[in-house]
């Protein structure tokens, strides 16, 4: 546990150091892409891109959680059973439309920038959280909820004191998937002009500069992996009984 946290911290430091070094590493990039005239991405600070990338993806994950978790709770209430197929279908539809298509469809309504990206990410991330909430709550053994009912816990107390604490490992696993997905997918937002680690990828693609594409892709993937590790570390201790 301690050791894993240390490795994670080292990984984060290495990531930040790489972000700082990238604009200066002209030699490295030109060695990889000798035909590109200006291989180092220097238009914007990587740290600014990182900041807005994180704000966008974590904000979207938060909104997705605010949507998916309550929907999952509602779908597992006895009064919400009838709603269950509808909720499931709506969220599945939301996830089956690729984020790029959502952005394209939302552009006329929301304009360029962060808004269409946020919409796409929220729609994309809500389903894993809904599924995780439903799976987690349904994994609570029936005899435990029966005992809770028989002891006189109100529906709200059963939810907050029994169902959610017992669903927690599954819920955290779902949250981890949603955040990782969101961080990795945010790069697509660059298509709509949202500033993020995907911006160098789009600029590189439109200007035939594979060096920019590589740097954007590298840092996006690196960030997603780091966050995945961080979240698994957070979820780890609670998942063991």
């Amino acid at each position: 546990m301690k050791k894993a946290a240390l490795w994670l911290a080292l990984g984060a430091v290495a990531f930040l150091a790489a972000l700082w070094a990238a604009p200066q590493a002209e030699g490295l990039w030109s060695a990889l892409f000798p035909e590109v005239s200006r291989p180092a991405y220097v238009q914007e600070s990587w740290f600014v891109l990182l900041g807005s990338h994180l704000a966008l993806s974590l904000g979207a994950a938060l909104l997705a959680a605010m949507l998916g978790i309550p929907a999952g709770i509602a779908a597992t209430r006895s009064s919400g059973r009838a709603l269950r197929p509808v909720v499931d279908a709506a969220f599945t539809l939301a996830q089956s439309v690729p984020p790029v298509a959502v952005i394209a469809l939302a552009l006329p309504l929301l304009g360029f920038g962060a808004a269409p990206t946020l919409l796409a990410l929220v729609l994309y991330g809500a389903l894993p959280l809904l599924r995780a909430t439903v799976t987690g709550i349904e994994s609570v053994p029936a005899q435990i909820t029966e005992a809770a009912r028989g002891l006189g816990l109100s529906p709200w107390q059963r939810l907050t004191r029994v169902e959610l604490p017992l669903a927690r490992p599954v819920l955290l696993a779902g949250l981890r998937v949603a955040v990782t997905l969101s961080v990795a997918t945010t790069a697509v937002g660059a298509v709509a002009g949202a500033r993020c680690l995907g911006t160098p990828i789009i600029i590189g693609l439109t200007n035939a500069n594979p060096s920019y594409v590589l740097q954007g892709a590298l840092f996006t993937a690196w960030l997603a992996l780091l966050l995945d590790r961080a979240l698994s570390l957070l979820a780890g201790p609670q998942s063991s009984p």
Binding site: Q143, I144, G150, L151, G152
Partner: protein
């Protein structure tokens, strides 16, 4: 204390309970005996409104339970189930403290109560208080389940096949424990089981259910008597009914004064069944009774038992 008045329950086409009427007097341990699907559990769960009757009413201390808020009602009734249902994310002490905490007791009172109850169900508080349910054996878990049900000192205890999942030795131990607790605390207990032996070991009164109907009700001897309807006899096992009757009779009630030289000694509190088995084992026609006065039980007394 508990009274069922013409209670029925129907699930779609299935009539689970049909017009059941009977009462459990205060302080009595009443066993609801029947095969699975006889409606006994359904009847039990109507008392704390886990199931609402589709006809008739259930009275608790003269009050229709349908008029009591279910949460308030359940906090005032102990409830023990076969699968125990301890909360795995809470310690033993926290599990036992569930209802007192819901009732808003202060921490010191809860802690004292938890220790008292753990000791009462035979678990050393210092050793078990902080344990997680996953570390308990089946018998220990059900002891905690019993302590949890008794935590807020409810006058009524509902037990749904509480010992059925346990191995025979553990089951007998917990039955003895329950009898002792019942004798000390005077709770009104309604206990569901399909096990005739368990019913005889525990019951002050037995109510026999078959296909949703109450087919016999009364003290064990009356229910197991020769005048019992054929259907009840069949259900209880006609060939073993005689033994079950003997289990319900205490040997000392039939003993004669005087020594019985060479006869095997029956332990104190032994039943007529124990005495018969003892005679069979030793090939004698009489057994001596433990106690101060010299008493013995001849085989003829067993044969003549009502």
């Amino acid at each position: 204390m508990i009274r069922f008045e013409d209670v029925s329950q129907r699930y779609g086409e299935v009539q689970a309970v049909r017009g059941v009427t009977f009462g459990v007097p205060s302080g009595v341990l009443c066993v609801l005996l029947g095969e699975s699907g006889s409606g006994k559990s359904t009847l039990l769960r109507m008392v704390n409104r886990l199931i609402e009757p589709s006809g008739g009413r259930v009275l608790l201390q003269g009050q229709d339970v349908a008029g009591i808020d279910p949460q308030i009602l359940r906090r005032g009734i102990g409830y023990v189930i076969q699968s125990v249902g301890l909360f795995p994310h809470r310690s033993v002490a926290e599990n036992v403290a569930t209802v007192p905490r819901l009732l808003g007791w202060d921490a010191a009172r809860i802690a004292a109560r938890v220790d008292k109850l753990l000791a009462m169900v035979g678990l050393e508080p210092g050793e078990y208080r902080a344990r997680r349910p996953a570390t308990l054996s089946g018998g220990q878990a059900q002891r905690v389940g019993l302590a949890r049900a008794l935590a807020a000192d409810p006058p009524v205890l509902l037990m749904d096949e509480p010992f059925s999942a346990l191995d025979p030795a553990t089951r007998r131990g917990l039955q003895a424990e329950l009898r002792r607790i019942h004798a000390n605390m005077g709770k009104t207990i309604l206990l569901v089981t399909h096990d005739v032996e368990e019913a005889l070991a525990l019951a002050d009164r037995i109510a026999v259910m078959e296909a949703g109907r109450l087919v016999a009700e009364g003290p064990p001897l009356a229910v197991l008597g020769w005048e019992t309807p054929a259907s009840v006899r069949r259900m209880l096992g006609a060939e073993t009914l005689a033994f079950h009757r003997l289990s319900a009779l205490r040997a000392e009630d039939f003993a004669l004064p005087g020594f019985a030289p060479g006869a095997p000694l029956l332990a104190a509190g032994g039943t007529m069944r124990d005495a018969l088995l003892l005679m069979l084992t030793h090939g004698t026609d009489r057994a001596a009774l433990a106690g101060e006065a010299a008493r013995h039980l001849p085989l003829s007394a067993i044969l003549a038992a009502p």
